[in-house]
């Protein structure tokens, strides 16, 4: 789960990492009071989860209250699903650094990355000037050691008090990474101010969904999703994505889903939504189909090749779903795996024409979209 900038900064501040003075507002009238706190000039930052906010015009500067109100109004009314703005003081920037912690799948260690050129796209830097990135692997059980803090701070070119402050900051950031089950924490830019202070001017924070059970303080909210239906599906335990095409996809497994998505694209079809029908969800056909129908598909395509999921159980579930929801769109199935013969009989009993070839099913679904 990705956190908004203001949430990330809230965690930073709790951990003793300096952040700019700032206030979160969700309406234009609150902007003036916020400026009362943070002063002028100020920065208005749309709280959205996408990257590249600067280029997209989602970060605005203002030197007067009136200008700030106008810009806030524009941001909140934009088509980027902006629910909140972060109003922040404008920093006196001496230098911008980059600092992040992520995971290294190769070693199973945490990977600290730093660069003395912050504010840039680290992926670009990694490609064009990899030598400018300091990397330090850290054993997650052991936590970050003093020498590892030093390696990064020397790599960033810090000196004196700023060096010491940087060590404390990275130690605190690693503690957060560890305690919060983070996939990624990133401060970009990490600002060195004119008087040598280090301030986290932006923050990315992504929490491992699989550890949500022990990170209850950070609940999923509607704001984190692009649509109501995606939020509600997530709350119900269904991985779900909303697209704007024709075919409602109930699929089991990432590999097969992506394959079906590829085939639909290859054969000229489009996808209305994807819903994960595998894993523990294979017994929840009624709910699954209800979510799928909300994407207004022209046809529902069910493709599974069960592992734990049993084909007969899925077919029975579909029977119940059809009975309950009475979908007014055709349903194409390719449900294979354990007890697939029984599944075929059940589906035929529903008047469907079950297929057992994925490509044939895809082609049929596209044809049915007309």
């Amino acid at each position: 789960m990705k956190l908004f900038e203001y949430q990330a900064k809230g965690l930073f501040a709790e951990a003793g990492i300096a952040v700019p003075a700032g206030q979160v507002v969700d309406n234009v009238d609150a902007v003036e009071a916020a400026i009362g706190e943070v002063g002028l000039p100020c920065v208005l930052k749309a709280q959205v989860l996408r990257g590249g906010r600067g280029k997209a015009g989602l970060i605005q500067f203002a030197t007067s209250v009136d200008a700030a109100r106008t810009k806030a109004e524009q941001l909140l009314a934009s088509d980027h699903n902006v629910q909140k703005l972060l109003v922040e003081e404008s920093l006196k920037i001496e230098k911008e650094l980059y600092l992040a912690i992520t995971v290294d799948p190769l070693t199973g260690k945490a990977l600290v990355m730093g660069a003395s050129e912050g504010g840039v796209d680290i992926e670009d830097l990694a490609v064009n000037a990899p030598e400018k990135i300091v990397r330090q692997l850290v054993d997650i059980k052991q936590g970050i050691l003093p020498f590892q803090l030093r390696n990064v701070m020397f790599g960033l070119g810090l000196k004196g008090e700023t060096f010491k402050e940087g060590m404390q900051l990275l130690k605190a950031l690693f503690g957060l990474f560890s305690r919060k089950d983070a996939e990624l924490v990133e401060i970009n830019p990490l600002v060195v101010t004119a008087d040598g202070q280090l301030i986290a001017a932006d923050g990315k924070f992504s929490i491992d969904d699989s550890a949500a059970f022990r990170q209850k303080g950070l609940a999923r909210t509607r704001e984190q999703f692009d649509s109501d239906i995606e939020f509600e599906a997530a709350e119900a335990g269904f991985p779900y994505l909303q697209f704007d095409g024709d075919i409602g996809l109930m699929c089991a497994g990432a590999g097969l889903t992506n394959t079906v998505y590829d085939l639909i694209a290859d054969y000229g079809g489009t996808v209305a939504n994807y819903l994960e029908f595998g894993g523990p969800n294979y017994r929840r056909a009624v709910e699954a189909m209800a979510f799928t129908l909300r994407s207004k598909p022209k046809v529902i395509l069910v493709v599974t090749f069960g592992t734990i999921a049993r084909a007969d159980v899925m077919a029975e579930g579909l029977a119940e779903a059809i009975e309950t929801l009475k979908p007014d769109v055709p349903i194409v199935t390719a449900i294979r795996g354990t007890n697939e013969e029984e599944a075929t009989e059940i589906l035929k009993g529903l008047g469907l024409e079950p297929l057992n070839d994925t490509e044939a099913a895809v082609q049929k679904a596209i044809a049915l979209c007309g």
Binding site: T107, K141, T259, T307
Partner: protein, 295 residues
């Protein structure tokens, strides 16, 4: 010879008394797998499909010399169960649980590397040598999906694996050994690390890799081929050519982010190394024909 598991492997089932544990223990035994013990804390003395249950892995290993373990335990308990197996000296472990916390997977990967252990998963359907033995839950009894043969398979997927092996069977090819490394963001064993076993296996003529968008494991395979570490013919199918950037369809490993992990990049690297890459599962058989592989 087979890869990872054979008739002599003494298999322990952790979480044997749960529904899935029971169900698949029966199937593993039916195939001929030597399941020597089960573990569920507090259930010592019970019997599942003729297999004795112990309270701890330590006790099970002491009593039965189990040397491999397959875990049917929920994701929250997988970390503890893996370390319990490692602590008892087991060095081959299959983790079926989907959704183990990332930091716990990191700890396991890090420890397994240092100990020289091979841990498959998380979120794997398991490993099988058709006709010989299995640890996991592959529907080997469906004839049109699995049959013994001479193609080694490595896969990140579950249902797509069945899709792909069914295509192989349709084209006349069977599986020597199949190793599912699972779909988690941090696979506890990586494709390239398994190549030496297939290279050494006299019953494997070629390898099929069932990959996905995300990560860099397919690229590592290409590097291993380029470095001469793997010399047998290799065919790959990689799902997710058209997947939209940043969208996660299914499990954690399958996502392109920051421009990394695209299928195009993976296919390009593999082709440059001399591998054949199928654009869709139905092309897999034709590529093996192209290799002139005995069926």
């Amino acid at each position: 010879m087979s890869v990872f598991i054979d008739k002599k492997t003494r298999v322990l089932v952790q979480g044997i008394t749960g529904g899935e544990g029971r169900y698949w223990t029966k199937h593993m035994i039916d195939l001929g797998t030597q399941v020597v013990a089960g573990v569920t804390p507090g259930k010592a003395g019970q019997d599942v499909e003729g297999v004795t249950v112990y309270n701890t892995v330590q006790q099970a290993v002491t009593a039965t010399q189990a040397d491999a373990s397959v875990l049917f335990v929920p994701p929250r308990f997988a970390h503890d169960a893996v370390f319990e197996a490692l602590d008892a000296g087991i060095r081959k472990i299959v983790v079926t649980a989907e959704g183990m916390p990332l930091h716990e997977a990191m700890e396991i990967r890090s420890a397994a590397r240092l100990l020289g252990a091979t841990v498959m998963g998380g979120n794997t359907t398991g490993v099988i040598t058709p006709g010989v033995a299995m640890m996991g839950f592959l529907p080997y009894w469906i004839d049109r999906v699995y049959r013994p043969g001479r193609v080694g398979v490595m896969t990140r997927s579950g249902s797509l694996t069945n899709e792909a092996t069914a295509m192989m069977v349709k084209a006349g090819y069977g599986v020597s050994s199949l190793l599912g490394i699972g779909g988690d963001a941090i696979p506890l064993t990586r494709f390239a690390e398994l190549l030496p076993a297939f290279e050494a296996d006299p019953e494997t003529d070629a390898v099929l890799i069932i990959g996905e968008l995300g990560g860099s494991m397919e690229e590592e395979v290409a590097e291993a081929i380029e470095a001469g570490l793997f010399t047998k013919p290799l065919v790959a199918f990689i799902a997710g050519r058209n997947a939209p950037e940043g969208k996660k369809m299914g499990h954690a490993g399958a996502i392109v982010s920051g421009g990394k992990g695209s299928v195009a990049g993976k296919a390009k690297a593999l082709r440059a190394a001399g591998a054949l890459v199928a654009d869709r599962p139905s092309e897999i058989g034709a590529l093996f024909d192209q290799l002139g592989l005995p069926q």
